[in-house]
């Protein structure tokens, strides 16, 4: 009997260690990813120091590397993506939680979540073969002639003349669709299902009595959404937006196809560019020496930035969860 319980205790301890070991692998893979890229990038960080972050030169011929162009591309595309995705996701979440008739909610929600299931490389192919040509033919001419400062007919539009910076953002003599703006749009389509499903979920946590009190006082649906639901769920909504930002920053395939892969810094959103992830995808297999190290170094930057963004996202989302328990 004594022996039996001792054996059980030993098994128990072993089992517990096994389980804990597996759980620690989660921690290990995050630390490992950060450590491996930092270690791989040490040569580039050591050689270029702070210039690595601010230099826009990426020249494998002379072995000089600076991260500014890919960093700018990553931030610009993600920013455009959020600018488009946030209002649309909010609209979808509002539609699904307040506007749509009950029988329509489940199928529409399932269809939007289907978007999240499509592999990113399919977005990339669609962007490359379908959307970028469509954009170049139908949208881009309108943008350059109505907003840009180099219109084809030479006549500046009112906006380009009077609003600062806008003219530069939409000027382009590059004939193809692939550009920072198109990459931002494709990214937006990718993150919409994530952001809208988080928003919809948190909208449903709003206590019915709060909403009904407002309705009883004569509020309209919009006033309830804007004045009751949104303030109540604010931190979680911001968390959902940051979650979308985290996705957008690290996305590789959807962006690589439609960014044009140009290592130049341009003020125009209609010019091609590059992002951290697509630079790595394009160059890593053929890179050696200092170039490989520079790619590892930008990967480290990407990982750190995404980690911080996702950390904020999860902390914000958690705040609502703790409110729910009260």
């Amino acid at each position: 009997m004594e022996q039996h319980s001792r054996r059980d205790a030993r098994h128990e301890r072993l089992f517990r260690w096994l389980l804990q070991g597996c759980a620690l692998l989660v921690l290990a893979s995050l630390l490992g990813a950060a450590g491996a890229t930092l270690w791989g990038g040490r040569e580039a960080f050591g050689t270029f120091g702070w210039h690595f972050l601010v230099s826009s030169e990426w020249d494998p011929g002379n072995d000089v590397y600076g991260a500014l162009v890919p960093v700018y591309g990553t931030l610009a595309t993600s920013f455009i993506a959020l600018l488009i995705a946030v209002p649309i996701s909010f609209g979808i979440a509002l539609y699904l939680s307040e506007v749509a008739p009950a029988w329509l909610r489940t199928p529409v929600a399932a269809a939007i979540e289907l978007l999240a299931g499509i592999p990113s490389i399919i977005y990339g192919m669609w962007g490359l073969f379908v959307f970028a040509p469509f954009f170049a033919e139908h949208v881009k001419p309108w943008l350059t002639s109505n907003l840009g400062n180099q219109p084809d007919d030479g006549k500046l539009s009112w906006v380009a003349e009077h609003v600062p910076f806008v003219g530069k953002l939409f000027a382009s003599d590059y004939p193809f669709g692939a550009s920072i703006l198109v990459a931002g749009i494709v990214l937006a389509i990718m993150v919409i299902p994530f952001v809208s499903s988080v928003m919809r979920e948190v909208f449903q946590t709003v206590p019915t009595r709060l909403k009904e009190s407002a309705y009883a006082l004569g509020s309209s649906t919009w006033e309830v959404a804007w004045g009751i639901v949104l303030p109540y769920t604010r931190s979680a909504v911001i968390g959902g937006i940051f979650l979308g930002l985290g996705r957008a920053l690290g996305e590789t395939m959807a962006v690589t196809f439609v960014l044009g892969n140009a290592m130049t810094l341009s003020a125009s959103l209609l010019d091609p560019g590059t992002s951290i992830a697509s630079t790595i995808a394009n160059q890593f297999s053929e890179a050696a020496g200092l170039q490989k190290s520079a790619l590892m170094a930008v990967a480290f930057l990407l990982f750190v930035v995404t980690f911080i963004v996702l950390l904020i996202a999860r902390l914000m989302l958690r705040r609502l969860a703790s409110k729910e328990g009260r």
Partner: protein, 288 residues
């Protein structure tokens, strides 16, 4: 007063209209993407896609890539499932409300959306580089390395579903077993995991759907291969990798093959997520 009322009604109607439009925009893009994949994919579909390998180029198919994808995904799921289920069990049964448990649960959620290309570089550093050094360059990129990279992406999905599913198991089941003197490890393995089985299977299917479409980490772990190989230590092609390569090729015939591959991949992933959703309809869990 009347003017104010009118303005409120107009604002409300406008907001409702805009939110409906936003939903229509989302659905339009979904339909557009699926339609193009179907149209171009079915147009390029023929038998040699499944019978010939990519070494034939324009006259070839994608057989070796499909075989490679199956092997790499199998390795990935094979590694991630036991580790993920055990880690999820630890979170739900042993470390609930402990500081370390909360931290790992939190970090797991971050790993869930971490950039896959960086995880690919991590696996490149810990597997491809050492195996190159150890074998003096005869083994470099390998299907196994690709599988490990995909395992890192599948792991957090499985950990999270297992954790959530186990927490749905009623605690009376645990109390009943413990009162009969069953040791906790036996309770966990033989009762709890069995009770949460369908939920855990759903998590594994979702993880499979997620990794089947992953491209970025495979580019510098499994690399690619024009021939069918079964040895996991060889360079290996995969469906996403060949789609990436062919879509970047200037030839139209290659684009057609890429679309056919994209069609097969999309159908597989969508059917898989449909299957897991059907399994899941019995129990409610979140995946963001």
């Amino acid at each position: 007063m009347n003017a104010l009322y009118l303005r409120r009604r107009i604002v409300n109607a406008l907001a409702m209209l805009l939110s409906t439009l936003a939903t229509l925009v989302g659905l339009t893009f979904l339909a557009w993407i699926l339609w193009e994949t179907l149209r171009q994919g079915i147009g390029a579909l023929d038998l040699k896609l499944f019978t010939r390998i990519t070494a034939y180029g324009e006259d070839g198919g994608l057989l070796n890539s499909m075989v490679g994808s199956v092997i790499i995904n199998f390795i990935g799921i094979g590694i991630a499932t036991p580790i993920g289920v055990l880690a999820g069990t630890w979170l739900a049964e042993y470390a609930d409300h402990t500081r370390l448990g909360e931290m790992i649960r939190f970090l797991n959620d971050i790993l869930l959306s971490a950039p896959s290309i960086v995880l690919g570089l991590f696996v490149y550093t810990i597997i491809v580089l050492p195996s190159t050094a150890l074998t003096h360059g005869s083994t470099t990129f390998s299907g196994f390395a690709g599988g490990v990279a995909l395992a890192l992406i599948a792991l957090p999905v499985i950990v999270r579903t297992t954790d959530e599913m186990l927490r749905l198991v009623p605690s009376t089941l645990r109390e009943a077993a413990l009162s009969l003197g069953v040791p906790q490890w036996k309770l966990t393995l033989q009762i709890l995991i069995r009770a949460a089985r369908s939920g855990i299977v759903t998590g594994v299917l979702l993880a499979l759907a997620r990794i089947s479409g992953e491209t970025a980490p495979l580019l510098f772990t499994a690399f690619g291969n024009n021939y069918t190989v079964f040895n996991p230590m060889d360079k290996m092609s995969s469906l996403p990798q060949i789609i990436y390569q062919y879509a970047n090729d200037p030839g139209d015939a290659m684009h057609a093959l890429a679309w056919a591959g994209a069609f097969v991949l999309t159908m597989f992933v969508l059917l898989l997520s449909l299957a897991s959703r059907l399994l899941l309809s019995r129990t409610k869990v979140t995946h963001d």
